[in-house]
C-alpha cells in the first residue's frame, strides 16, 4: 500500500455534554477516493472540521506530507493544499463566478483588484475541467449544479492536494453527478487524494476505492470498496440490515376514488401545463432531475407560490387555492424539502410546532387550551415514535429525522387527507429513513393520499404506486409501479436534454 498523504490518528474532541470524536483514525493516499461514511451525528463533519482548523482537537495527531500539522483556520489548511467542497454551497450570489473563485486571494494590481486576470484564470480552470461556464456571470444566475462545479474549480485553483467533498451530490441531478464523477476520476488520475462524504450507497460503490465508517463519534473500520457489499457497510454503520425491497405492484385498487385532480397547472417557467390525478390511499411518486419543476409544481399546487393558470379539484369539487391557507382548508399538507427553512420553527417547542396549522381547534374562547394542545402532541409523539424527553422540548434540539416527524405530526393533527412529501428523507440518516418509509406506507394504508417528490431513484421505486416523471417544467410521463424501471424513468426524465 502506498504511503498516506494525510493521516489522522487518535483524534479526540469533546463539546460540553457530547463526546463528538472518540479516538478516531483516518487516512487518505494520493490517487485514491476514500469514502467517509456514517449516520448523521456520527462525527464525519466534525472530523473534517478538526482537520481544516474550524475546530481545535483535544488530542491526537494529524500528519500531512510527513509532517505533523495543526491548522488554526480554513485559510491555513487551504494554503497547505487541503480544501473542502461544502455541502452547503458557499457562494456569494451578488459577485461573479470569477470573483467567487478567487475570493480571499484576489490578484492585485497595486491597490486595485485585477479582475481581468481573474477572469482569464477562471477560463483556464474551466477549460481544464471541461466545464462550460462564463466567469463573468453572476453566481446567483447559475443553476445549483453549475454552482457546485464552480466550487470544485475553486478547490482545484487552490493547488489542492487533498479535496474533501462533503455530500456533493445532495443537490445534483443524475447527469450532473455523472459529470462530477468524471471530474473526480480525472483528479484521482492526477494523483490527488480525495475524501468523499456521502449518504448514497450507490455512489460509494461506483466512485470510491476505500470506505471508512464512523459511528457515534467513534471509528468502526476501513474496508476496500471492491471487496465489500452494501450490506457490509450498512451493518457497520447501524449494526443491522434494513433495506427493504422495491415495490413491484400497487395495492391500490384501480377504481379508488380520485381525491386530487390537477389540470393544466402553469406557474412560471418551471411548471408548464402539468396535469395529474391522485387516488385515495395511493403514494404518487414524482421523479425527475433537479430543476425539473417538481417542487415548483407542489408549491404552486399548495398556493405557496403564485400560479398563472390551472384547475384543481379536491374530491371531485373544483377549488381555488391562492395561498397555503386555502390549501390547508381543503385538507392538503406540504412537507418541504428544506425543513429548517420551511418546515419547523426551530426555536419553539414540539407542541407549538405540532398545533401550528390547527390552533383554532385548541382554543377555549380566545385563549389557547394548553393542556388539550399538550395531549394531542403527546399522542403523536407516541404514535410516530418521536425521540424526545418531552413535548416541551425545543425543536432545535431534535435530530433531522425527529424534526421531520414533528412536521408530519403537524399535518396529522390537522387531519390532512392529502400530504405532499418533498424529499422526505433528505439529510436523514439510514435508520430514521426507514422509519419514515414505514410511516408513509402506514398512512397510505389508513387512506391518506401521498404525493412524494424524490430525487433518489431507489426511494421512488420502493415507495410509489404510480410515478409521474417531469422534465424541464413539463410532465413527460406516467408509469405504474409494475411497469416502472430505472431505465424507463431515466429516459423520460432526460427526454429533452439528450
Amino acid at each position: 500500500m502506498a504511503d498516506a498523504i494525510l493521516t489522522m490518528e487518535e483524534i479526540d474532541k469533546s463539546f460540553p455534554g457530547v463526546h463528538a470524536l472518540d479516538h478516531v483514525h483516518f487516512d487518505v493516499q494520493c490517487g485514491e477516493v476514500h469514502a467517509l461514511m456514517g449516520e448523521n451525528g456520527a462525527g464525519k463533519s466534525t472530523l473534517m472540521k478538526v482537520l481544516t482548523g474550524i475546530y481545535s482537537k483535544d488530542s491526537g495527531t494529524i500528519t500531512y506530507e510527513g509532517k505533523e500539522v495543526a491548522f488554526s483556520n480554513t485559510r491555513e489548511a487551504q494554503e497547505a493544499g487541503i480544501v473542502i467542497v461544502h455541502q452547503e454551497l458557499n457562494m456569494v450570489g451578488d459577485l461573479t463566478v470569477a470573483q467567487n473563485i478567487f475570493i480571499g486571494r484576489e490578484f492585485m494590481k497595486g491597490f486595485t483588484i485585477d479582475d481581468k486576470k481573474m477572469i482569464e484564470e477562471s477560463k483556464k480552470l474551466f477549460d481544464e475541467l471541461k466545464i462550460d461556464i462564463n466567469p463573468r456571470d453572476k453566481m446567483s444566475d447559475l443553476t445549483v449544479g453549475k454552482q457546485q462545479m464552480c466550487e470544485i474549480a475553486k478547490a482545484i485553483s487552490h493547488k489542492a492536494k487533498v479535496i474533501i467533498f462533503d455530500e456533493p451530490s445532495a443537490a445534483l441531478t443524475e447527469k450532473e453527478i455523472e459529470d462530477l464523477f468524471t471530474i473526480i476520476r480525472d483528479l484521482r488520475s492526477k494523483g490527488l487524494a480525495i475524501v468523499y462524504i456521502s449518504h448514497r450507497m450507490d455512489e460509494i460503490k461506483v466512485i470510491t476505492d476505500r470506505v471508512t465508517v464512523m459511528r457515534d463519534g467513534g471509528y468502526v473500520g476501513t474496508l476496500i470498496t471492491k471487496e465489500c457489499t452494501k450490506e457490509d457497510i450498512i451493518n457497520m454503520m447501524v449494526g443491522r440490515v434494513i433495506y427493504e425491497d422495491p415495490k413491484t405492484e400497487s395495492k391500490v385498487p384501480k377504481d379508488a376514488p380520485v381525491v386530487l385532480k390537477v389540470e393544466h397547472l402553469n406557474a412560471g417557467r418551471m411548471v408548464q401545463d402539468v396535469s395529474f390525478e391522485l387516488r385515495k390511499g395511493e403514494i404518487l411518486g414524482f421523479s425527475g432531475l433537479m430543476g425539473a419543476g417538481r417542487t415548483e409544481t407542489a408549491r404552486a399546487l399548495f398556493g405557496a407560490d403564485p400560479k398563472t393558470s390551472g384547475d384543481i379539484y379536491v374530491n371531485g369539487e373544483k377549488v381555488t387555492i391562492n395561498s397555503p391557507q386555502d390549501a390547508v382548508k381543503h385538507g392538503i399538507g406540504y412537507l418541504s424539502e428544506d425543513r429548517k427553512r420551511y418546515g419547523i420553527v426551530v426555536q419553539k417547542t414540539i407542541t407549538e410546532n405540532s398545533t401550528m396549522a390547527t390552533l383554532e381547534k385548541y382554543m377555549s374562547g380566545i385563549f389557547i387550551n394548553k393542556s388539550e394542545e399538550k395531549k394531542i402532541t403527546e399522542k403523536y409523539i407516541k404514535e410516530l415514535a418521536t425521540k424526545t424527553p418531552s413535548s416541551d422540548q425545543l425543536v432545535v434540539n431534535l435530530s433531522g429525522g425527529n424534526q421531520q416527524k414533528v412536521v408530519i405530526a403537524k399535518w396529522l393533527v390537522r387531519d390532512c387527507d392529502i400530504l405532499i412529501f418533498d424529499e422526505p428523507t433528505r439529510g436523514i440518516d439510514v435508520g430514521a429513513k426507514n422509519e419514515i418509509y414505514k410511516l408513509m406506507n402506514r398512512l397510505a394504508a389508513e387512506g391518506k393520499s401521498i404525493i412524494m417528490i424524490s430525487s433518489e431513484m431507489t426511494e421512488i421505486l420502493r415507495m410509489s404506486d404510480r410515478i409521474v416523471i417531469m422534465c424541464e417544467g413539463k410532465k413527460t410521463g406516467e408509469l405504474d409501479i409494475s411497469e416502472a424501471t430505472q431505465e424507463k424513468i431515466m429516459s423520460k426524465a432526460t427526454r429533452d436534454i439528450a
Binding site: 463539546f15 420553527v345 426555536q347 407549538e352 424534526q403
Partner: protein
C-alpha cells in the same frame, strides 16, 4: 439547506433551577435584583431619594414609556423594529391636544383621537411592512418623518399645553394618571401589561406573532395568514403608542412638535433589556416592565444626582450593549 448534520447532539445538562425561577426566567430575576440594587444605590447617594414623592415622579415616566415599550415588544417579537414610536406619540399628543385646546373639542374626543392616530400609524406601518415587505426600519424611518411633519403642519409648529388638573372642563383626564395621590396610572399600566402578557402567551395572535418572528416561511406554509398577524403586531403597537401619548400629556402637560426621538431609544432599550430578542421569536412582557422601570429609575436618579438628563442616555446605551451582548453570547453557546 437540507438538514445539515447536527454533530453536537444531546442536551447540555442545565443547572437545576427552582420552579419559580424557571417559570419567570433566570434573566428576569437578575434584572429585578439589579433594579432593587439600583434603587438602593440611589437612595444612599441622594438624600431624600427614598420616599413616595420620588416614586410617584418615577412613575410618571414609567407610564408613557411603559406603554411605548409594551407596544414595541410585539413588533420586536415578529423580528421587526419600530423607531417611529416616539415621534408618533408626540404626533398623537399634539394633534389631539391642538384639537382640544384650539378647536374646542371635548376631552373625551381628544383622547379618542389620540388613540386613533396611533392606531392609524400602526396600520400604516404594519401594512407596508407585511403586505409590501418593506424592511421595518425603513418604514419606521419614513413614518417618523411623516409623524413629525404632520404634527408640525397641523399645529403650525406651536407647542400644545393640555389642561391642568384644576381645569374644571378638561382637568378630569388627569385622574387617569393619578387621583388624589393614588397612582391610577400604575394600576392601568399593570393591567395593560397583564393583558399583553395573556395576548402574547395564551392567544392565537400572540402564538403566531412569536412563531413568525422565529421562522416566517414555516408558519406561512402551515396555512397561517402571516401577513395579517404581522400587521396586527404593528397595529397593537400603534394603539398602545396612542395610549402612551395620553399618559405623557397627563404627566408632562406640554408637547412640542419636532421631538420625541429619544423615547424610541428608551422604549426599545427597555424592551430589549427585558429579554425580547431582536432576532425575533422571544418576548417577555414581564421583562419589558422591569426594563422600563430600570430606565425610568435611572433617569430620575441621574437627575437627582445633579447630572444632566442626557447622562442617562449614555448609561442606558451602555447597559443595552451589555444586555444584548449577553443575549448574543447565550445564543452562541446554545449552538
Amino acid at each position: 439547506m437540507p438538514g445539515p448534520e447536527k454533530e453536537t447532539e444531546g442536551n447540555v445538562e442545565k443547572i437545576k433551577q427552582h420552579p419559580f425561577v424557571k417559570k419567570v426566567g433566570f434573566n428576569r430575576v437578575i434584572l429585578f435584583c439589579v433594579m432593587i440594587l439600583m434603587y438602593l444605590a440611589f437612595a444612599i447617594m441622594v438624600p431624600g431619594f427614598f420616599g413616595l414623592a420620588r416614586i410617584m415622579s418615577i412613575m410618571n415616566y414609567v407610564y408613557f414609556l411603559g406603554f411605548l415599550s409594551l407596544g414595541v415588544t410585539f413588533v420586536i417579537a415578529t423580528g421587526g423594529i419600530d423607531f417611529s414610536i416616539g415621534p408618533v406619540m408626540f404626533c398623537c399628543g399634539l394633534i389631539s391636544g391642538y384639537t382640544l385646546v384650539n378647536k374646542g373639542a371635548p376631552v373625551v374626543a381628544a383622547l379618542i383621537i389620540s388613540v386613533l392616530i396611533g392606531f392609524l400609524f400602526g396600520v400604516f406601518n404594519g401594512y407596508l411592512v407585511s403586505y409590501w415587505t418593506i424592511p421595518p426600519f425603513i418604514v419606521s424611518m419614513a413614518s417618523m418623518n411623516i409623524a413629525k411633519g404632520i404634527a408640525a403642519v397641523y399645529t403650525k409648529t406651536q407647542s400644545v399645553s393640555w389642561p391642568l388638573s384644576n381645569d374644571p372642563a378638561g382637568g378630569w383626564f388627569r385622574n387617569l394618571v393619578s387621583c388624589n395621590g393614588f397612582p391610577v396610572g400604575l394600576v392601568i399600566f399593570l393591567v395593560a401589561a397583564f393583558i399583553c402578557m395573556i395576548v402574547l402567551n395564551n392567544t392565537k395572535p400572540g402564538r403566531y406573532i412569536l412563531c413568525l418572528g422565529s421562522n416566517r416561511e414555516a408558519v406561512r406554509l402551515s396555512g397561517v395568514d402571516t401577513k395579517k398577524w404581522e400587521m396586527l403586531a404593528y397595529v397593537i403597537c400603534g394603539t398602545l403608542v396612542g395610549i402612551a401619548a395620553i399618559f405623557f400629556v397627563g404627566a408632562y402637560t406640554t408637547v412640542q412638535p419636532g421631538y420625541g426621538d429619544q423615547y424610541n431609544n428608551e422604549a426599545i432599550a427597555g424592551c430589549v433589556m427585558g429579554g425580547t430578542s431582536m432576532v425575533g421569536g422571544l418576548a417577555s412582557i414581564g421583562g419589558t416592565v422591569i426594563g422600563v422601570l430600570i430606565i425610568s429609575l435611572l433617569q430620575e436618579g441621574i437627575l437627582a444626582l445633579g447630572f444632566a438628563k442626557d447622562i442617562q442616555l449614555i448609561v442606558t446605551g451602555l447597559i443595552v450593549i451589555v444586555v444584548v451582548y449577553a443575549d448574543v453570547m447565550a445564543r452562541r453557546r446554545k449552538n
